[in-house]
């Protein structure tokens, strides 16, 4: 796909400025997974849209970026890679600030795991950073993550009396028995990532609960779950613009974008191809907003999409969809975001406290996240029109799934069997799997063009004609390719099976060469059409703005 168009189109995605800054720290040297990972990533992911070197040559004419450069746009990381990287940053920070690692992690988390930012803030105003995580100034013994009682006390949770050493605190003056700590941490861990924000149980005390205390006090299972939340926080809260977990079902890999890359689509090693920005299935040439709106719309029996539109809104801070499950309009987004806002106007709750509750702001501010405008547009659009686009979007999706299954079957032994028939090594038949990879990608792109066109103004005939023309050309080429790959392959197999023995050697080879020629040609044609399609759709055309 044309890299140039991609850059122009997405360069307004925002936040690119600090890209270089972020990477100039050289952290990624530590974090990059080894090259094996990377290679297997793109090889396996072939089905999902990354073409390898040879393929790329064919489209060099339209692509001004070397294929090698494209592959370097991201690295895969396992959970262990992420953890190692996080531990390293934490250890360095702990040493630099002379605080125990648990506190270092709390500070880092406060600064979104940006060690440089923490360093600056800490050395310009240590008290403020401490205050933000609830940690008081260091005592005589420095910062203490947890301490045991030195005299008999009563536990304020279970009201039992305990001898010295039978209770502990979060470094503050409030001691609780071991059993109650276990229960306290268990309840918090069961509640999700909120456990990372846990404080001393005393309502007036802000002392933070850190890793050291959890490791000492929690049950094994809770300790492990806490550790998982810590690692997730590093990716999800920290540098989320640059690292993301693959949203593929059951996949535990993280993807880190490389310096300077404007990463948009990632074919993960698990074969799931996703959008790095919004986490949705890869949806070029439609934008994230279009894809998001379309997905919401489709989550229908009509009613469902209507339900989502009426009952959920996006947190103005982190954009997660939120369902209002109680009457109260004071919304608190769940951890780790915690943003407080008004359900009616989506303004910050801070502006609502005291006497200045004015949700007549509603009228002015609602447009951005509520989808109010979309809702009206959708009402205008006729159900027939929607159905037209939805059917095509869904059908290409089904065909894509089928092609993916066929590709899996080919890679899982089908190719070897085919190679047997022709009497050639399986490597000779890689053009078949490549064609399938092309088909899958093309189907995916095509299906999203339907979502794209749906949101275009039907009144603007000229532009619409142009889209539909590109779409038709690309679709035609792709259907031919799919038919050839599916039909002719099977026919050929029968043909060679029947006549291969009758005719002298060379018959099978000749037929195979013909088939290769045809399929490769169709692959090339299809690729060229889709390059044009994506370029055409993406070049300077504003899509719907929610």
């Amino acid at each position: 796909m044309a890299r140039k168009g991609k850059e122009d189109y997405y360069s307004d995605a925002g936040g690119d400025d600090d890209y270089e800054d972020y990477y100039s720290k050289g952290e990624d040297d530590v974090c990059q997974s080894d090259t094996d990972d990377e290679n297997s990533g793109s090889d396996d992911g072939g089905g999902g849209g990354v073409s390898d070197g040879d393929d790329q040559q064919a489209m060099e004419t339209t692509d001004d970026i070397e294929p090698k450069d494209r592959e370097k746009e991201y690295d895969f990381e396992t959970e262990d890679d992420v953890r190692r990287c996080q531990d390293e940053v934490t250890a360095k920070t702990s040493e630099l600030l002379s605080v125990p690692p648990g506190f270092a992690a709390a500070f880092l988390r406060h600064c979104r795991w940006d060690a440089e930012r923490l360093e600056n803030e800490w050395f310009s105003d240590e008290r403020r950073v401490r205050g933000a995580v609830g940690l008081a100034a260091a005592g005589r013994d420095g910062d203490v993550p947890t301490a045991l009682n030195d005299r008999p006390l009563i536990c304020a949770i279970c009201f039992g009396g305990y001898a010295p050493g039978e209770m502990r605190s979060a470094g503050c003056a409030h001691y609780y028995c071991h059993e109650c700590w276990r229960g306290y941490i268990h309840a918090a861990v069961g509640d999700g990532s909120r456990c990372l924000l846990l404080r001393c149980p005393d309502p007036r005390c802000t002392a933070p609960l850190v890793r050291e205390l959890v490791d000492e006090a929690a049950a094994d299972e809770d300790r492990a779950r806490y550790a998982t939340f810590v690692v997730r926080s590093y990716v999800e809260e920290g540098t989320s613009k640059y690292v993301r977990w693959c949203p593929g079902p059951g996949c535990t890999l993280a993807v880190r974008s490389r310096p300077g890359s404007r990463l948009y689509e990632v074919p993960c090693a698990c074969k799931h191809v996703f959008c790095f920005r919004c986490g949705e299935e890869a949806h070029r040439p439609a934008s994230c907003d279009t894809a998001g709106a379309w997905v919401v719309k489709n989550r229908s029996d009509g009613e469902t999409s209507e339900w989502v539109l009426t009952n959920t809104k996006h947190c103005p801070e982190c954009r997660r969809a939120i369902e209002k499950n109680q009457g109260c309009n004071h919304m608190t987004c769940s951890a780790p975001c915690g943003h407080q806002f008004c359900w009616l106007c989506l303004g910050s709750w801070k502006e609502h406290s005291g006497g200045n509750y004015h949700c007549n702001r509603y009228a002015a501010d609602k447009s951005e996240f509520t989808g109010e405008k979309t809702r009206r547009e959708q009402a205008k659009a006729s159900p027939e029109r929607y159905l037209h686009f939805y059917e095509r979007w869904a059908t290409h999706g089904q065909s894509m799934t089928k092609a993916r299954q066929d590709l899996d079957a080919l890679e899982g032994g089908g190719l070897d069997a085919l190679a047997d028939t022709f009497g050639v090594p399986p490597t000779e038949l890689e053009f078949v799997t490549e064609a399938y990879a092309q088909i899958i990608e093309a189907r995916r792109v095509l299906r999203w063009t339907y979502a794209y066109v749906y949101y275009q103004d039907p009144e603007r005939h000229g532009r619409l004609e142009f889209y539909v023309f590109l779409q038709a050309m690309a679709e035609g080429a792709m259907e031919q390719l799919h038919k050839c790959a599916e039909g002719e392959k099977d026919a050929l197999k029968v043909d060679v099976g029947d006549y291969g023995a009758v005719f002298p050697a060379g018959y099978a080879a000749g037929k195979l060469a013909e088939f290769r020629e045809r399929l490769s040609h169709l692959s090339r044609v299809t690729r060229s059409h889709f390059t044009k399609l994506v370029e055409g759709f993406e070049s300077g055309m504003a899509e719907i703005v929610l």
């Binding site: 279970c158 909120r194 149980p201 309009n329 005291g354």
Partner: protein, 168 residues
């Protein structure tokens, strides 16, 4: 039976609630289930709920004190932070709960907060009654009313107190 292995904490809290009741509040456990409390609260003076006696139920879930007690008004009340079912919009009954809080703290702080007047800090239930806080509404309509015309809303609250909470 649920009462046989009641945690020491619940027993002690109950004993203390019975032996040193907080002013204006009575809480007594049900005979069948020691985790279920019948609560009565006097409407705080200088609030629209003055002169009213409000019944509530309080239930200590299995996870208590790691999870918050469940509290609900049984007496009908006109209040922006209390909905038709008597549920209360209060942070310490939700995400701000801490096991170091107690039934007593909840009743002493939730209610007064609820029942005093707007912009009162969230501390406990009696406070809730003293300070209706329309900025954190659970009941949209009541909150809107409170915003639009406080004097009228207060009158409605007094009216409801007379009608439903006059200690019949």
């Amino acid at each position: 039976m649920a009462n046989s292995n009641l945690p020491r904490r619940i027993i002690k809290e109950t004993q203390r609630l019975l032996s040193e009741p907080a002013p204006g509040i009575s809480a007594s456990p049900s005979e069948e289930n020691m985790r279920y409390f019948n609560v009565m609260i006097l409407g705080p003076a200088q609030s629209p709920y003055e002169g009213g006696v409000f019944k509530l139920e309080l239930f200590l879930p299995e996870e208590y004190p790691m999870a918050a007690p469940k509290v609900r008004f049984l007496t009908k009340i006109y209040h922006p932070n209390i909905d038709k079912l008597g549920r209360i919009c209060l942070d310490i009954l939700k995400d701000k709960w801490s096991p170091a809080l107690q039934i007593r703290t909840v009743l002493l702080s939730v209610l007064p907060y609820c029942l005093l007047s707007p912009d009162y800090l969230i501390f406990s239930i009696q406070a809730l009654l003293s300070a209706p806080n329309p900025d954190d509404p659970l009941s949209d309509n009541v909150a809107k009313h409170w915003k639009a015309n406080e004097a009228e809303a207060v009158e409605t609250a007094k009216e409801w107190t007379r009608l439903y909470a006059s200690g019949a």
